[in-house]
Amino acid sequence: MTVTPATLAPVSITARPLRCRNCGAERAPAPVAICDQCLGPLDPVYDPTRRLPDRATIAGRAPSLWRYQEWLPFDGEPVLSLDTGFTPLVEAPALARRLGVAHAWVKNDTVCHPSLSFKDRVVAAAINAAAAFGLDTIGCASTGNLANAVAAHAARAGLKAWIFIPDELEAGKVVGTSVYGARLVRVRGTYDDVNRLCAQVADRFGWGVVNVNLRSYYGEGSKTVAYEVVEQLRWRLPSAVVAPMAGGSLLTKLRKGFGEFLDAGLVSGPAPRLYGAQAAGCAPIVRLVERGGGQIEPEIPQTICRSLAIGNPADGAFAARAIRETGGWAAAVSDDELVAGIRVLAEDVGVFGETAAGATTAAALALARAGRFRPDDELVLCITGHGLKTLEAVSGALAVAPVIDPRLREVAALVERS
């Protein structure tokens, strides 16, 4: 299954070698995310002597995540998904007042290109790994956003896509995948069942399953959120970042991204405190942060926040460590709170986020109430997916719009009553 599709030739990109996070064993670049010595996760290895760009060089590049390509796990030039990333960082003074912090910004990945979630970033990385390896089929296990992203990026690249999701996802996530012509498979069970199945699928069929055997390359795309935040704050670090947690990878990659820009001398100061958000109906990482220790206790998800409904998050322990070591914390919120969080984000900031965005906003409010933030904090909320994908969650909570005849006096009556 290593046929190079015509659309990918000529390929000018190669993937970086890999090293086991657990035992340190190194291996050649490959669509493999697991160490064959100890089964630990593999991370890409960068050339420490590579030439890194300065601020001006980065600022002069095209507005996409590839402006940071020296920190992405490839040599040569990317060939696919060249226009993903560099989403707006929206200042949110009303939300800052509500949170009791000096400044707040929303990193608005609801408008990430092309599929309206931050998963476009990781798929942009993974699909270039697929190109480097000459794979003609990509796939994923997904709670929805990743399904949308894989389907969209694959369609554009002319690759085949096999996408596996839990059978009970929101209509927007299902339609927003099928429309691209992907082979969408709904699996009876939870995301964790789907994930387990996809580990077996990747092993059997030799596809590039982006969050399974291409995971080492895929995950690095998340770091670009941190790079963009730093650049958009005019080369400063925020003091705190709140991000949603599903598998837990984003938290670890945010830390890595901020750390890499500190190491490169592009920015200085203390690394941001990282805060994680989950829904109370599936909060294994929050509970690990709260009780301490090093091992996730898996849960059976029961929440409307399906994009975060991973009961057995493989990066959960790493995320909990990143939270603790940066001086952050974590919070779980009820489904009612996260729906209210969607509305707060929309009404305060003008950004319509999906359920994970509601969880992130509500968790930030809960953390503020618990005194976890400081009055001088400069806080960034990572808002990772568009609200049009999860209309079901919030539509019932909103006022029903009045219906009138097309007469001015009826409008006047409404204005009178408002």
């Binding site: 069942d193 969050n211 399974v212 059976i300």
Partner: protein, 91 residues
């Protein structure tokens, strides 16, 4: 009839190339110990020096995560199917 153990391809090389092997035992831990005895290269990749599971290696008993069934203490019987899958996050 015994317990069937399905291995990921990264581990098959440590079991003479076999993707599926058989094991015996009354609990999952005993079955893993049986595998470790017969395939010495496989043993340390399935469990730590104290015989405990690693956090990044998941075991499924008839497609159910064994952590919901007592982990290595989960009872097993002839005909059961155990699948070893490295932990991989998603989203």
């Amino acid at each position: 009839m015994a317990i069937t153990v399905n291995l990921p391809s990264v581990l098959a090389a440590h079991a003479g190339g076999a993707r599926t092997i058989e094991a015996t035992g009354r609990t999952l831990g005993e079955a893993v110990a049986d595998v470790a005895t017969r395939y010495p290269a496989l043993g340390p990749r399935l469990r730590d020096a104290q015989g405990k599971p690693y956090p990044f290696v998941n075991f499924y008993l008839n497609d159910q995560d064994v952590r919901f069934r007592g982990g290595f203490a989960a009872p097993v019987q002839d005909g059961d199917e155990v699948t070893v899958i490295p932990a991989i996050a998603g989203g």
